[in-house]
Amino acid sequence: MVEGTSEQAAGATLPALAASKRVELARLALTQALSVDAVLHATAGPLGTRSTLDGRERLGGVTAAALSDGRYGVTLHLVVHVVPLRPLAHRIRARIERGAARAGLENALGPIDIVFEDVADLPGRGV
């Protein structure tokens, strides 16, 4: 009993708990967004607050929050190439929605807010 308690405290033999739906959605949204052309990276902000903790891992640049209807709203903070931003936002949302559907999370996915925090030049395009 005592040994078991100490093992639990150390976390050595416990199986890892499955990520919550909120964290799953955050990870999915981040992964899908970063797979879209013209998206360079996500940014957690100067204080790192725009992020989601997945155990010990920090998913920077994405937050997910429960809504009153049981779904989770996702917010992404992105740095992208200089391309038309509204169409890019539509492409990102569509990619995330498709990914959520494949993962069986479509009913948990609420609105996807996208914040374009910064832009970077396309390669070879000097200023």
Partner: protein
């Protein structure tokens, strides 16, 4: 050197409340474009116009050179000030123009290109682009003076 300021004839000031960013609300979520993005797009658009040597006043460029050297500055935000609403943006630019270029023509081209780029890339309506030309660049300005001693 006296400044030449020209302003577009579009309605002044974005109708949406000015804030840190602009937003487009849809049923699938909100798209927000940070002021920094509009600032950089305006800067890139201005630099694309032949005859524009640099952006920013003398003090801003001097300070910018120092901050860039230590890695905390960005040339692309120099000389650009934006006011961004939900659907509209207003831009103020400070330019250094190459000597010999027509200042009115360069200003007009800059204004047109800034409007084209911001509307195309950000999807915002540009209500005004105010251009201040605060210096001229001469061909020999960048050539370092020869050393007086060997």
């Amino acid at each position: 050197m006296a400044d030449e300021t020209t302003a577009s004839s579009r309605p002044k000031t974005p109708t949406a409340p000015a804030g840190a960013a602009s937003a487009l609300q849809t049923e699938h979520g909100t798209t927000t474009i940070a002021d920094l993005v509009v600032t950089k797009v305006a800067s890139i658009a201005a630099h694309e116009v032949p005859g524009v040597y640099a952006l920013g006043g003398g003090a801003a460029r001097a300070l910018g050179a120092v901050t860039q050297r230590v890695g905390i500055g960005d040339e692309r935000t120099q000389g650009v000030s934006v006011e961004v609403g939900e659907r509209e943006a207003a831009v103020d630019l400070t330019l250094v123009i190459e000597y010999g270029e027509s200042i009115p023509q360069v200003s007009t081209r800059v204004r047109e290109n800034v409007i084209r780029r911001i509307e195309g890339i950000c999807g915002l309506t540009v209500t005004e682009v105010n251009v201040t030309v605060n210096d001229l660049h001469f061909p020999g300005d960048d050539v370092p003076e020869p050393a007086r001693v060997e």
